[in-house]
Amino acid sequence: MRSQPARLLFAAGVLVALALPPVAGKYYTELLSQALIFGIFAMSLDLLWGYAGVLNFGHAAYFGLGGYLVALLAREVQGFDQSYLGYALAVLLPVVLAGALGYFLFYSHVTGVYFTIITLVVTMIFQLIVSDWYWLGGMNGLLGVPGFALHGPSGLGWEFDSEAQVYYVLLVVSAICYLLCRYIVRSPFGLVMAATKDNQERTEFFGYDTAYLTTIMFMISAGLAGLSGALYAHFSGFVSPPLFGLNFSTDVIVWVAVGGRGTLVGAFVGAVLVNLLKAIISDFLAVLWLLIVGLFFIVTVFFFPDGIVGTLRRTPWRAPRPLPRAASMREGGV
């Protein structure tokens, strides 16, 4: 049950988000658009990390896969509109990959740190492949991905080319993704996932195939990450090997941790805040900015271990329901 102030805060947030483009100007509108895409990506990690207790240290693999697929289709397939097919494949392929990985790992009881390490290796393999294979662009990546467009039958359609239009499209997509995730975590499936995170053995002894359910959550998470990768490819117009990189995988963990793990909204708050901070600080501190952003991360996690949204949710205006931090065997570090 949301309390009155929380509702007001939420409504204010929506109003600000809607009113931003004219106020923020071109540069910041673009920056925020990108942060929204990263927010969807971070939310996909939060599904797995925050709600199933499984930390994926190579989450960039699914983002990169989605982005590269769209870029490849744009280059190789001509004569028909590839964007819908691109989105579909960008979701489907990560889902299949996650299903295969989940099948081999979760069913062999590879969880916790070991799972985290293997996911790290997976994304590094992808990075090697795309860096070294000329057909996939090598270190230069793939250029010339078309921008956002909606195409109907018989040539009807809209292209979204102004910064504000792109921003609003991404805002709508983000809202849809958020509602979908919220539905999942609040469904009985989400409850069983929370139970598995809390006490896997007990859940198995109630007759749940926890490996199967965790694999499903992993697949949903990967599909959403793939979608955000596809959005990114259309947004930025190109993809390159760092999309599969360790840095990017770490970034998304930072966004979720800063915003608040297990909150969904926190993923967006973290992605927007950290990226905004990066942009502002790197403007006047060309060398030291990364250090400052790093310090900001450490301070946030140290003083607000539940992240920004997680901490706000526990402030006095809400009915107190502090959750004990049950240490779970499934969880990786960080």
């Binding site: 539905y183 999942i184 609040r186 469904s187 009985p188 499936f189 409850l191 069983v192 929370a194 139970a195 809390d198 006490n199 053995e201 007990r202 859940t203 198995e204 002894f205 109630f206 007759g207 749940y208 195939d209 926890t210 199967y212 359910l213 329901r321 959750l323 004990p324 049950a326």
Partner: protein, 246 residues
């Protein structure tokens, strides 16, 4: 009457240790059976074997006539074997209501887990279980805040909510006050009266006297005596085992 649970020549070795040694146990449907034995007799190992947490070295376990010893935990549970652990094993971060809801939702096929409306449909069942274990007024409380005895009841309630045919209780009154123990005895008798088959591990003879009709004594992984509680208590061999003479 054919037995609901049967073990045939069941053996479990951990390295050089034989925890279960040629065990032949048979439980009839509707029976309330108590397993006793000193520490290390193999009581909990037997529960682990029945529920699939451990795989037997040799022998077989039959549940309603079907061999189950090679099945994974969740499949055995789905056949109708519910287990209450010795140490309360509840979801501390979830509310009391959610704890029971997790157990109840298992009765649904997996796709139905994505329909929010099912949560409301199962509300009555959850409420009934909470009534059975007298936790109705604490339904919104995180389980971490329950007392030890309440956690034990909650777990029993959760296992009941998953509609088992055979209920395995591992020392259900461990750490309970005298008052709580009395209440638990009432609950177990009540369940037994509803024809639920119960296999329970006990330490406390007074408690066993209060609930059980038939007692099986385990020692070094083998059945050394079986009979009603009166006969067992006067059995010389059993007394020697408990006094450490054998």
């Amino acid at each position: 009457m054919s037995p609901i649970l049967e073990t045939k020549a069941l053996v479990k070795r951990f390295g050089g240790l034989t925890a279960t040694n040629d065990l032949n146990l048979s439980i009839d449907a509707g029976e309330l059976r108590c397993l006793v034995g000193p520490n290390g007799a193999g009581k909990t190992t037997l529960f682990n074997l029945i529920t699939g947490k451990e795989t037997p070295t040799a022998g077989e376990i039959y549940f309603m006539g079907e061999a189950i010893s090679r099945l994974p935990v969740h499949e055995i549970t789905r056949k109708g074997i519910g287990r209450k652990f010795q140490v309360p094993n509840v979801y501390e971060s979830l509310t009391v209501y959610e704890n029971v809801a997790v157990a109840v939702h298992r009765l649904l096929p997996t796709p139905a887990l994505f329909r929010k409306s099912v949560a409301a449909e199962l509300g009555d069942r959850i409420a009934a279980v909470l009534g059975d274990v007298t936790l109705s007024d604490k339904r919104e409380m995180p389980a971490a805040y329950l007392s030890h005895g309440e956690k034990q009841w909650l777990e029993i309630g959760m296992v009941l909510a998953s509609a088992p045919r055979l209920l395995l209780l591992d020392e259900p009154t461990a750490g309970m006050s005298a008052e709580e123990t009395k209440k638990t005895v009432r609950l177990i008798r009540d369940l037994s009266a509803r024809r639920l088959t119960i296999l329970l591990i006990g330490h406390d003879m007074q408690f066993i006297r209060a609930v059980a009709h038939k007692v099986t004594v385990l020692h070094k992984g083998q059945i050394v005596a079986e009979g009603d509680i009166g006969a067992i208590e006067t059995n010389r061999l059993v007394r020697d085992i408990y006094l450490g003479k054998v």
